[in-house]
């Protein structure tokens, strides 16, 4: 084989660079996200069960969106009987008032970029007293 030295060196360098992201991160787990829940004084329960919200809040938000915009239904009564105004900014973010400490934690960890915030406003985090 002609130029085998050059080719093999080239291949080794290529593989090293190509797999860099894999081995450079080996053994280092990315920190598990810790979304910060609102203090108990603000709210002790969400519009649905925590596990459900953790995995499926986007489904619920989609259904809320259609109900509000298309059906005009704006009041949601949760399975345990509490009534809420169906609004991302005015209800969800009322309790989860700091988007950076709550939403962004998992969204960044999973590298998802929902475009809710292109239109829906993010209230300024309230000053802690």
């Amino acid at each position: 084989m002609y130029d085998s030295g050059k080719i093999i060196t080239g291949l080794v360098i290529f593989l090293a660079i190509f797999t860099y992201p894999l081995w450079s991160n080996m053994g280092k787990a990315a920190p598990v996200p810790k979304p910060e829940l609102p203090p108990k004084s603000v709210a002790t329960q969400c519009v649905a069960d925590t596990n459900y919200m953790r995995t499926s809040h986007m489904t619920l938000l989609n259904v809320w969106r259609d109900d509000v915009v298309r059906m005009g239904d704006r009041v949601y009564v949760s399975p345990n009987g509490k009534a809420y105004n169906m609004s991302l900014t005015n209800t969800c973010l009322e309790c989860h008032s700091d988007k950076v400490k709550f939403c962004d934690q998992c969204h960044n960890y999973l590298a998802v970029a929902p475009f809710c915030w292109d239109c829906h406003q993010v209230p300024k985090p309230k000053e802690k007293k």
Binding site: V63, G72, V75, V77, S78, T89, D118, C119, Q121
Partner: protein
Amino acid sequence: MGVDRRKFLKLAGVSAALGLGGATGFQLLRPGALDAAERMPTPYQMVFPKEQGNAEVSPNPKRLKGRRWGMVIDMRKLTPAKARAAIEACDYYHNVPQIPGKQNIKWIWTAPYVNVFPETENPWADPEIKNAQFIVMCNHCNNPPCVRVCPTKATFQREDGIVMMDMHRCIGCRFCMAGCPYGSRSFNFRDPRPFIKKEYLDYPTRTRGVVEKCTFCSERLAVGKLPYCSEASGGAMVFGDVDDAGSELRQLLRKRYSIRRKPNLGTDPQVYYLV
């Protein structure tokens, strides 16, 4: 290798028998047996696992109810200052951006008689009318061409007549802008946020690539309040139920002569001008 006719017919027979054995066959032989299982679940039954119980949704009990919303604009009462107040209220509370040039976004604005009522051109009309600045906005047409052309149903007509926008669905194709004969719709050529002077945090902004327009303040009606422009206009803009013969709006329409924009197009606009 080939399938001869005999084999083919046999195969076809077996397949048909199997097909009948499926849900269709079941339905044929025992009608009604599968109905219970097939009933569409409500959205909340779909999103919630069974053991969590049911969530319910309903409209706000305080909402204003109407069968056919409309607006009457009294040109005798509408002074330039009142028009400005109405426009400023809408712009602020709906985060309507002020973009200089042709890319501007408009929900409600003023235009001269010749542009608002082009077919009624009349050189000797009352100069007071001819020189007046008319307030224009979406007419919430009874027969809205924008709804008809929208390929995604992002623009749709509610039962109470309001022609609504679902920004989540709009793909920015702008068919509706071509369809609307009144120029009531604007396209977001760019991110509008930098052009909003002061953001009103309780209402969303829009994003690049969607079309927007007046919504007859559906978010206000939903909580039992009147549209912002009507409230700010000092009585020059009266909002109400066109279908209700006893409404203030209908009384005004009975007492005074009113005109509508381009009625010959058959869109049946629901914004009336008292001249």
